[in-house]
């Protein structure tokens, strides 16, 4: 996965609560079984005045000239709720977003983000509002968001932090524990034989 260490960018404000993954990337914009070609559909219902004709709505944050090339998104409570589609993370990243700062995240979105190298930063709404359109720096090793003189610390669990900094692939890492996994499974077969089904023909 893409490593995340430190990132300086202007912060694009989309300060609505409960932004769901249907809004981030509507189902009809997920046109293939792949993980690419999604940036164009990012926030399609809000970004385009007419989604079919792709006419940009000039009032939408991502369409403003100061949003061009920026990599940090500010959002409201419970960001990424709704469908489990990882396409929401892939679409954000393909557009260029590498960090979302919000008061809270829906759990599936957060897990998806961490697995792909998109950093979810939880800060209170009062701290987020003044960051709108400011140049800020998000630094993962020190777990800080810096805006001018203001420095805000955020929490992140140790394992995802280390994996993000090193850009580690979770499957590769876990496969190193194969001996423990195999031993556990053998023991479990005796305890719960009904779990282990016959091979499907």
């Amino acid at each position: 996965m893409t490593p995340f260490i430190t990132l300086a960018s202007r912060a694009i404000p989309l300060l609505r609560d409960n932004i769901d993954t249907d809004a981030v990337i509507p189902s009809r914009e997920m046109k293939t079984t792949g993980r690419t070609g999604l940036a164009d559909g990012l926030f399609a219902p809000w970004r385009y005045g007419d989604a079919a004709a792709r006419t940009p709505d000039p009032t939408f944050a991502l369409n403003q000239s100061q949003a061009v090339g920026q990599r940090i998104l500010l959002a409201g409570e419970n960001f990424g709720c709704g469908s489990s589609r990882e396409h929401a993370v892939w679409a954000l990243m393909e557009w260029g977003i590498a960090c979302v700062i919000a008061p809270s995240f829906a759990p599936i979105f957060k897990a998806n983000a961490l697995r792909n190298g998109l950093l979810p930063v939880a800060l209170s709404g009062e701290l987020i509002a003044p960051l709108a359109w400011e140049e800020i720096t998000v630094d993962l090793p020190s777990q800080t968001v810096t805006c001018g003189d203001a420095i805000h610390r955020f929490e992140i669990e140790t394992e995802p932090k280390e994996m993000l900094i090193e850009g580690l692939d979770a499957i590769d890492l876990t496969l190193k524990s194969r001996p423990e996994i195999d031993a556990w499974t053998e023991a479990d077969k005796a305890l719960r034989p009904w779990i282990y089904l016959e091979k499907h023909a």
Binding site: R35, N116, I171, S177, I181, K199
Partner: protein, 456 residues
């Protein structure tokens, strides 16, 4: 004397494989369930990385999200480009050697409806699926939760997930529900009172007299909306009803006689990180007024002041009574409310009556082909058709909009589904979520209506 433990703690400890160097846990995953919308992408990406599925016998897949629900269906779907999801899932499932319930399989249906029907989900198991409503299956006493495609790949390739231990919450519904009030109304009450982010970081155990009194299908409706509460999942301790429901199902064990099965409950005195208590006897039929599932009111209430965007989208002002709001369409379906008991209760309201001429589209989409057959054996299909509903094949259908089939532009729908997001059922479509009874009563009235008035 060992420390009293929650059901979650028991399942967690039983699936603990190892601690990682950085403080996470490898938790064994017993079952993985895929569907065509996200499954093909997970399987293809695994294959491309040259990683085999560790134990294909414990991975299942179904076609539910974008399948055609019109009679006589095949691989064609009304979603533009959707056919590729079906054919690629089929090819990938075949190549990986996993069990697929295909479009024309007699066991086809919505993931969270067929997994319990077939006894794939069991008390005490860990089950994951790249679908947020996997929490539905917690109703059987499983730790079942939604994940993304990458995590699905991880579970299939390694047999485990790397997880941080979730916090525990117990939501106790004391007392009994009044007639005409359903588990859907319990879920919507929880969301209205504690917010759509209220369960964030928690596994929520539903307990109390009103939960114990629910049948298994009703418990699934309640657990279904744990994801709307931002919880990792919901769970209900298995009891004799659970074991009676699962006995004889295809993938379930032959008997549940082993004393093990009786240990799967929260011990008296176990401590939860958070407790919520709700008096079930005070719950009324609920309906959503806005664009988040927390935007719900009792059917005889008025629209409260909410975010301006929500009022604008849904075109209802604060202070307006929700009852009597004219509607154009009605939908009975989804993993929330499309099981046999749901269809029976809706049909009881519709029997011998016709939907209002104001209704331009009314659909019933059974949650599985087995539900469809059982409903037809009781003649429920005729009740719906005579009332003016279309009777469909099983699938997710218009629970969400994938392009292709939709409601008429600008429609206001009442739906037995779980999400009233902007555009969830189509661009500009205004969705009100409610119980199947409320959907049926509203379809008859052509306006949001109180199902209790039809119960006499």
């Amino acid at each position: 004397m060992t420390q009293p433990r929650t059901l979650l703690a028991k399942i967690w400890d039983a699936h603990h494989v190892a601690d990682t160097a950085a403080g996470a846990t490898l938790i064994a995953i017993d079952r993985v369930f895929l569907h065509e919308r996200t499954g093909a992408s997970a399987l293809k990406s695994l294959a491309a990385a040259g990683r085999p599925v560790l134990d294909p016998a414990r991975v299942f897949a179904v076609m539910d999200h974008i399948v055609d629900t019109r009679p006589g269906r095949g691989d064609q779907t009304l979603m533009q480009g959707g056919q590729a999801f079906i054919t690629e899932t089929r090819e990938a499932a075949l190549a990986a050697g996993i069990r697929l319930f295909d479009v024309t399989d007699r066991d086809q249906g919505i993931t969270h409806v067929i997994s319990p029907e077939l006894g794939i989900v069991l008390p005490g198991v860990t089950l994951v699926a790249p679908d947020s409503h996997t929490c539905t299956q917690g109703a059987l006493g499983a730790l079942a939760w939604g994940i993304g495609s990458s995590e699905a790949e991880h579970a299939m390739a390694t047999g485990v997930l790397r997880l941080a231990r979730p916090k525990t919450m117990r939501v106790t519904f004391k007392g009994r529900l009044s007639p005409g009030v359903t588990p859907k109304d319990m879920a919507l009450t929880l969301l209205a009172t504690h917010g759509a982010a209220g369960g964030s970081g928690y596994v929520v155990e539903f307990a109390g007299e009103a939960v114990g009194a629910l049948d298994i299908e009703g418990r699934m409706t309640l657990c279904n909306m744990a994801t709307e509460f931002a919880a990792m999942t919901g769970i209900i301790a298995p009891d004799e009803k659970t074991y009676a429901y699962l006995a004889g199902r295809r993938y379930a064990p032959a008997t549940f006689d082993d004393p093990y099965w009786q240990t799967l409950r929260t011990d008296a005195g176990a401590v939860f990180d958070r407790e919520i208590i709700i008096d079930a006897s005070t719950i009324a039929p609920m309906v959503s007024w806005g664009t988040s599932p927390e935007h719900c009111v009792a059917i005889d209430g008025t629209v409260p002041q909410g975010p301006a965007r929500a009022h604008e989208y849904i075109a209802l002002d604060a202070g307006a009574p929700i009852k009597g709001t004219p509607i154009d369409a009605a939908f009975i379906g989804s993993c929330t409310n499309a099981r046999l008991s749901d269809l029976r209760r809706a049909a009881a309201i519709l029997r011998g009556r016709r939907v209002s001429p104001a209704i331009r589209k009314a659909l019933v989409v059974p949650g599985s082909m087995a539900v469809k057959r059982a409903a037809e054996a009781e003649g429920l299909d005729k009740v719906f058709i005579d009332a003016g509903f279309e009777w469909r094949m099983s699938g997710c259908s218009l629970c969400f909009y994938a392009g292709g089939e939709g409601f008429e532009p600008g429609s206001r729908t009442i739906s037995s589904t779980n999400r009233n997001f902007e555009g969830r059922q189509g661009p500009g479509i205004r969705t009100h979520i409610a119980s199947p009874e409320t959907v049926a009563a509203s379809a008859l009235a052509g306006a949001i209506a109180d199902p209790r008035e039809r119960l006499a």
